[in-house]
């Protein structure tokens, strides 16, 4: 029994953290709010690709890193901390293992010239909900056909994108109108589709843990400096208790996400239940931490000039995407036989 991470996994996380601190500061997230559809800056994505992160779950035989969800989960937490606007979960957790298993169109160097061992590029998907993130920016769209339930890999040029004005503009979301063709089919296996969804829900849970951690960190730092009534705001018991509860909810959600990584990596019978528990707890924890963070920041956090809102709005969107907490609790309820 060992509920922790090995040195390689921790080193992978640290490398990702360094990368995000350098390449994905709040300015990059703000740029993603403003950039026209299709013009998302790829610098941080290219660095991730050089690290092989999008291909984390792809076997070495397929020129991937040959790692599993237990390595990916820590990197995704870091992506959440940075509020990375790019579709990393959609590409690395959802599409890459699938497409590798059933190679879709293309191969060789990625469409954008970014290093890309298996020619997948940056992929987004409608599996997490109708608002497809970075739809106009991605190289490929992994689309579930509502009629057949089958998954297809589609060239964005072959689809009609209708932008959606989302509260978090860095979602860069659109609805997608498209037609499946035999050539675009990736899989018609319901189990494979379900597994892809579960990897997406799990990856989103990891992002939420990272987003929540960052909101908590920002708040702890702020209430330590901000003085009112002649004392740091953080010295008032009400603020202490808000943040102690935020810490608690986050501290107990994180192990659930890590366990889900293990269940997916080992193909445990309980993986659906474990993914749902992780997504439910991470969604609720992120919403709760976000509320405490905003309240403890006060008016200073209630502006678009402060960085908090970048994480806050992302956490709202992701808590609702890939099945909200209630949807996943429902799946847990079935799994425990009630």
């Amino acid at each position: 029994m060992f509920f922790g991470f090995d040195d390689d996994q921790l080193a992978f996380r640290d490398a990702a953290r360094d990368l995000f601190e350098k390449e994905c500061p709040p300015a990059v997230v703000r740029a993603a709010w403003e950039a026209p559809a299709g013009a998302l800056d790829r610098t941080v994505w290219d660095r991730l690709a050089e690290m092989g992160v999008p291909a984390t779950l792809v076997p070495e035989a397929g020129d991937g890193l040959g790692l599993d969800e237990q390595a990916l989960v820590l990197v995704l937490e870091e992506a959440g901390r940075a509020a990375l606007p790019h579709p990393l979960v959609e590409t690395a957790a959802v599409a890459a293992p699938l497409v590798e298993a059933a190679p879709g169109p293309g191969s060789g160097p990625g469409p954008t010239g970014s290093p890309d061992p298996h020619g997948l590029g940056m992929v987004t998907t409608n599996l997490g909900g109708p608002h497809v993130p970075c739809a106009a920016d991605a190289d490929r769209l992994l689309l579930r056909d509502d009629v057949s339930g089958h998954l297809h890999l589609v060239d964005p040029a072959a689809a009609v994108l209708t932008p959606v004005a989302t509260v978090d503009r860095a979602r860069r979301a659109a609805t997608v109108d498209w037609q499946p063709t035999p050539a675009s089919l990736v899989t018609d296996d319901p189990a494979a589709v379900g597994a892809a969804f579960d990897r997406g829900a799990f990856g989103t849970a990891a992002l939420l843990v990272g987003l929540a951690q960052r909101m908590l960190d920002l708040t702890v730092a702020y209430v330590g400096e901000r003085r009112q009534f002649g004392a740091p705001v953080g010295s008032f018991q009400a603020v202490k208790h808000h943040l102690a509860d935020a810490l608690k909810e986050l501290a107990f959600a994180r192990p659930a996400v890590h366990r889900a990584a293990h269940s997916l990596a080992t193909g445990a019978d309980t993986r659906e239940r474990d993914v749902s528990m992780a997504k439910a707890m991470a969604s609720d924890a992120a919403r709760f931490v976000g509320r405490q963070a905003l309240q403890c920041h006060g008016a200073i956090g209630y502006t678009v000039e402060h960085d908090l809102h970048l994480h806050l709005k992302r956490s709202w969107a992701l808590a609702a995407a890939w099945g909200d907490a209630a949807w996943h609790r429902e799946r847990v309820a079935r799994a425990i036989g009630i």
Binding site: G129, P130, H131, V164, A165, T166, V167, D168, R171, A173, R227, Q228, F229, F236, A238, V239, R291, L294, Q295, G298, A299, I300, G301, Y302, T303, V304, E305, H309, L312, W316, A317, A320, A321, D324, A326
Partner: protein, 387 residues
């Protein structure tokens, strides 16, 4: 108990309803339809909303509880409640003149000289003068007494220096009412004065910035040796006595937290829209919470009936305005949270519910954070000891 409305009150309601339905439709049409009207916290939307404010004034509905002489119609508190219910029932727009009519005016009625009342109130009701609140400063948020903006006495007026911030709609207003330290040797609550400042005064700079929802609803107001002449306005620029600014301001926070700012009609209307939304997306798991939210909006109405009964009997709004503010601000969050849960994936789309949700999150912060309100309730209502 008598929970019925008198014939004249019913007539008042009928008149208000008819006027609101007709004029709201006309106002929407005037701007090319409801959807063509932007948020009142944007530059464009503010201008559009001013045309609504002027309609209200022309109809005599801008400030129903004021004397007719000042542009009101001498309505009772009961009639004011009725008007608010009708106003929100038809989903009429937020009042961009709110900080003047709901916050400054009660203070002017209590502390203003006849000359000030005669000058300020009619122009406020007519939306000719547009007032914003200049209280918070970068280092004086919850801790209002930490104000450091100075007003230094000078030949025939005051020289203003300092910065106010989070000033709602400050970038679109013409006047600011604010607290300034007029006694340089004073500390905390003492030595503050309540000044009325035209924003076109030389040395005053206003910079609008985005609230959480991105609208330019906030502003910084910078005072750089700005000279505010005593006769900048008839009746003078000082509201209440020099040095008595704190006591005068507290009267305003009373109305901010208490009766006048957020009437039950507002939340009953939101609850009604939530119930419609529930019917549209049947989500049985939320049924009990929707019923609870309706009960809490209705309980707020009953609590207010109790309050108005006591005020009508000569009582004054006391520290229990603090639990009032906690109640409506948390209720507003829950009503919108439920709507977002009902909307599911569409919750993230810009729209009335997502916008209302973001606005609701400011409720527990503005007008004195709910943490401060809980302190007040515990110390002044329950009498628990201060630290």
């Amino acid at each position: 108990m008598d929970l019925s409305w008198s014939e004249s009150e019913q007539a008042f309601r009928a008149e208000a309803r008819a006027w609101l339905e007709e004029n709201l439709a006309a106002w929407h049409a005037e701007h090319g339809g409801r959807d063509a009207i932007a948020s009142g916290d944007t530059r464009t939307g503010f201008a559009q909303h001013l045309t609504w404010e002027r309609r209200l004034h022309d109809g005599g509905w801008a400030a129903v509880s004021w004397p007719t002489a000042y542009g009101g119609r001498d309505a009772s508190l009961w009639e004011w409640l009725i008007f608010e219910e009708e106003y929100h029932r038809v989903d009429a727009p937020p009042r961009v003149t709110q900080n003047g009519i709901f916050l400054l005016a009660p203070t002017v009625f209590e502390f203003g000289t006849p000359a000030q009342q005669a000058h300020i109130l009619p122009r406020m009701a007519a939306a000719e003068d547009l007032w914003c609140q200049g209280w918070s400063e970068p280092d004086a948020g919850s801790d209002l007494a930490a104000i450091s903006s100075r007003a230094t006495r000078d030949e025939g007026g005051w020289r203003l220096d300092g910065q106010k911030t989070w000033t709602t709609r400050g970038a679109f207003c013409t006047h600011l009412f604010g607290l300034f330290r007029t006694d340089p040797t004073s500390e905390r609550h003492r030595g503050l004065s309540y000044l009325l400042v035209p924003l076109d005064t030389a040395g005053v700079t206003v910079r609008g910035f985005g609230r959480l929802d991105g609208d330019e609803g906030f502003a910084d107001v910078f005072f750089d040796d700005a000279f505010l002449a005593d006769d900048a306005a008839p009746g003078g620029v000082l509201l209440g006595d020099e040095g008595a600014g704190w006591q005068v301001a507290m009267a305003t926070t009373g109305s901010e937290r208490g009766l006048t700012l957020r009437s039950p009609g507002r939340f009953l209307a939101t609850a009604a829209r939530l119930i419609e939304l529930y019917r549209a997306h049947s989500a049985p798991r939320l049924r009990e919470r929707v019923a609870e939210a309706w009960m809490r909006a209705e309980a707020y109405r009953l609590f207010t009936l109790d309050t108005v009964t006591r005020l009508a009997g000569g009582a004054v709004m006391g520290a229990d305005s603090s639990i009032n503010k906690i109640w409506w601000s948390e209720l507003d969050c829950e009503l919108h949270e439920l709507a977002l849960e009902l909307l599911g994936p569409d919750a993230e789309v810009e729209g009335p519910w997502s916008k209302g949700w973001q606005f609701s999150l400011s409720g527990p912060i503005y007008a004195g954070t709910n943490e401060i309100q809980r302190n007040i309730a515990a110390e002044r209502v329950l009498g628990l000891p201060r630290r």
